[in-house]
């Protein structure tokens, strides 16, 4: 009895300590970045374009570039990834060689380092297709990179929808597509959104592959064929070339805030969608 009690107490402490370490590390990083970056941030830092390679002015063009590139990659990858997931889970036969190949490809692509995609995007989109350093080249490269994540998470989300829903829908005379589109997909939305949030994180955090495909221009990107610099690329260049550590930390701080905003909005739309459902 006594021994058991002590064991429980020790284990509780060990688990509490693991949780504490995780929170501690995260908070330390965030507070350090805030502490170092806060002095760089004011309204001008957000609203003005960079001047003198980022030594002066703000980072407005890189914020626009980040949002723009993320949207381009999602617009390409979400329909393709969700479509592939629907095919694999709802239409393909379990024995299908093609489905096996698609699954294998998605799994393999998910583990390939981003710089490999960057190299491919550079050779294929930038040079061979003559799209140059542009948001389209960068967006397509990122789309390929996040495609496995979106496909896998959508597959899991679709798979977790109870089989009963499908039979019950078919039993009132719904077609297969009506069942998928009215019952299965709405129930799978939370899982699909999780995949999208993970993908946004990857795009926002990417540097090397984007330097190779979207370039690192500081100009305001207006159309898809123009090059762009994302916030992460900007941060990398500011720190790497010793332009300004203060501004690098300021940028890092804004990246964290951007991610928080994106996650919040994704969760909000998720809640709206599931409210509409129930």
């Amino acid at each position: 009895m006594q021994a058991n009690n002590i064991q429980e107490k020790i284990l509780t402490f060990v688990f509490w300590f693991s949780a504490f370490i995780i929170v501690g590390i995260l908070l330390t990083i965030i507070f350090y970045i805030m502490y170092r970056g806060f002095s760089a941030i004011d309204l001008n830092f957000i609203l003005q374009a960079p001047r003198h390679a980022g030594r002066e002015g703000g980072i407005s063009t890189t914020i626009v570039g980040t949002v723009y590139l993320t949207l381009v990659s999602l617009i390409i990858a979400v329909p393709l990834g969700v479509g592939a997931a629907i095919y694999l889970e709802e239409y393909a036969s379990r024995k299908s060689k093609f489905a096996y190949l698609v699954n294998l490809t998605a799994e393999t692509l998910a583990g390939v380092p981003s710089i490999v995609f960057g190299l491919f995007g550079f050779v294929f989109f930038v040079i061979f297709l003559q799209m140059g350093w542009s948001m389209l080249s960068g967006g397509m490269t990122m789309a390929i990179m996040i495609l496995p994540t979106i496909t896998r998470t959508s597959q899991e989300a679709i798979l977790s929808v109870p089989h009963d829903y499908r039979e019950n829908s078919l039993a009132v005379g719904a077609s297969k597509w009506q069942t998928i589109h009215r019952i299965v997909l709405p129930s799978a939305v939370p899982g699909i959104v999780t995949g999208i949030i993970l993908s946004i994180g990857r795009t926002v955090g990417e540097t090397a592959a984007l330097i190779l495909t979207a370039g690192s221009s500081l100009g305001m990107p207006l159309n898809l064929m123009e090059p762009a610099r994302t916030m992460s690329v900007h941060l990398y260049i500011l720190a790497m070339e010793g332009i300004s550590m203060e501004r690098a930390f300021g940028t890092a701080f804004l990246i964290i805030i951007l991610i928080v905003i994106i996650n919040y909005m994704a969760n909000l739309s998720l809640r709206k969608l599931s409210q509409a459902k129930s």
Binding site: D164, E167, N168, L170, A171, G173, S278
Partner: protein
Amino acid sequence: MQMNKIIKIRSENINVFYKDFQALFDIKMNIEENQVTALIGPSGCGKSTFLRTLNRLNELIEGTVIKGQVYLDDIPVYDKVVDVVALRKKVGMVFQKPSVFPLSIYENVAYGPKIHGIKNKKQLDSIVEKSLQAANLWKEVSDRLNSPASRLSGGQQQRLVIARVLAVEPEVILMDEPASALDPISTARLEELIAELKNKYTIAIVTHNMQQAARVSDYTAFFLNGEMIEFNRTDELFVNPRDKRTEDYITGRFG
């Protein structure tokens, strides 16, 4: 007793295979209109498999081969020209586990009619009310049609599923152990409902509960190892079973 019996569903030599396993052997059965036909037998005897051949739900399982023919009003159900979706609209099905969609009570019932192209709000309202009333659920839910269906009790959910099936105006209702997940009171209500529904619909019900079969059905078929051993009027089959195996089963010697 009935002068002119109308056969609603007729199965001819139905054989079902799952890969190498033969689940059903030469099932011949006539299901009479506006009657309740119960399918009984031990687990794995093929009674559910047979039920699912009637609305072609078996073919969703990969590796299933179905031989033979089922006639619904003399229309061959397994004919190439038959539209499966239209068939399933006529032959509705209620499953073992009440499975409500993650929608409101109203949207659950309106689901089928909407799928089949009804958009008019007034028309949908009246279908929803009529179906819920027919399923004996209207009184309990009429003041909260827009709340999530998942908040209903198990028995209410099963009646909601029946309302959802009724909303597309089927002719036949297949029920696959519809009471097995319900408490005794909900089961009694469901059985009352079945007795009311048979005035308008033809019902085939799979049940593992012999008392239930005896209470609700007009005809009973006893299945064993994929064969239909005996098929007769329920009062006959339970009082005077012709086959020794039927007798053993209904007297509880195995099961």
